[in-house]
């Protein structure tokens, strides 16, 4: 078997071997130290024949492979931008989504008479709506609204003070596919938090730095019961 591989090394050197055999031979050279050493010597003989051998003991392969391994590990840790093909369907699809998204966002603004007054009046309206919404939510569990903030286009976060416990609770509310100006109207029918299923209201996240989980679950259940 070894003799056969030795003969194949000679063929590999002269480019007279098939791709399939090449792969097999590469694996064999890697795993068989005798074969690797013979491959090294054969190439040294060839270099010597042409007067190109300076050092019989030179072997840079280990250093080179270890350097390659190091640089491969380094590049793996670096995040690179994916190569975009601007004509690819994925890219075009993403562009369409983005254009549609911005178009939908700009629709309410288009209905208002002047840009300056529209923005300020809308902000007032939203601010009022949000506060009213959160006061209503707080009323469901007798919590007093301390402060709140809008965390994204479809979510809000509010901190409540609970008189009985003398502790605060943080409520995160997610609105699924409901425009901001409709939030207040929606809560008249219950809690305006929508789940993926669409119909069942659900508090997605309720957290507190001090309240135990059991208490949080009770509060959560209060919301759910109110909306049944």
């Amino acid at each position: 078997m070894s003799k056969l591989f030795e003969q194949k090394l000679s063929l590999l050197m002269d480019g007279e071997i098939t791709p399939f055999e090449t792969k097999r031979l590469v694996d064999e050279i890697h795993s068989n130290s005798h074969l690797r050493s013979l491959w090294l010597r054969m190439n040294k003989h060839k270099a010597a024949m042409h007067g190109e051998l300076l050092d019989q003991n030179l072997d840079l392969s280990k250093k080179i492979i270890s350097q390659i391994n190091k640089s491969t590990q380094n590049t793996k840790t670096l995040k690179t931008w994916p190569k975009f093909n601007f004509l690819s369907p994925t890219y075009m699809k993403a562009c369409c989504y983005l254009i549609g998204f911005f178009f939908i966002l700009s629709l309410p603004l288009l209905n208002l008479p002047s840009p300056s007054s529209s923005v300020s009046s809308k902000q007032n309206l939203l601010s009022l709506n949000n506060e009213a919404l959160l006061l209503d939510l707080g009323a469901n569990f007798n919590g007093n609204l301390k402060d709140y903030r809008i965390t994204s286009s479809s979510s809000m976060e509010a901190n409540y003070f609970i008189p009985g416990d003398e502790k605060s609770v943080r409520l995160k509310v997610f609105f699924d596919r409901i425009p901001e100006q409709e939030w207040l109207g929606t809560i008249n029918n219950g809690v305006t938090v929508h789940t993926k299923s669409g119909s069942t209201p659900l508090i997605l996240n309720l957290s507190s730095e001090n309240l135990p989980n059991q208490r949080l679950i009770k509060i959560s259940n209060t919301f759910l019961e109110k909306n049944k």
């Binding site: 480019g15 054969m42 010597a48 050092d55 019989q56 030179l58 392969s61 080179i64």
Partner: protein
Amino acid sequence: MNSEKSLINLVKKGDKKAYEVLVLQYQDRLVFSVYKFLKDYELAQDIAQEAFVKAFKNIEKFRGDSSFYTWIYRIAINTAKNFLSSKSRKSEIYDDEIMELKLSESAVTSENPENILEAEELRSLMMDAIQGLPDDIRTTLSLREFDGLSYEEIAEVQNCPIGTVRSRIHKGREILDKTFSKYNMSNLETNLI
């Protein structure tokens, strides 16, 4: 059949074992070429090493228009040129005395005859060994090594089956390996004395 192309394809798929096979195949030749350019053996090794690493990283750019050796040779010579130009830029900031010292340290301007002598000695030893081969084996191996004929062409020239060409070339290399192993042993013994 093009084994080199197969090896390159494996490397393009990330097969480092295949790349090691290529490194083992071309390292001596590349170090020699860079050495001829820089006249500094240690530096030639470093540049060749860097060239092999660069080539691996950029293997996707290798289209196979030339041989792998031609491609990596260009990378190595460019790396050597960059090294020399950066070295000369740095040396501009030193005063004359330091610059003189730096230049004498670098073997860029000085020959290192020992290496060339060794290469010549090894070559003549190899030629002697080839002369000692049986006639049919010697002719077949010479047609391959020095005239660059393919196995098929050799079979045509020598009017023999391609299998005979394969076995003759392999046999010739086997004999040369044994001759060289003896030389290495005697060389080692001389060094020990």
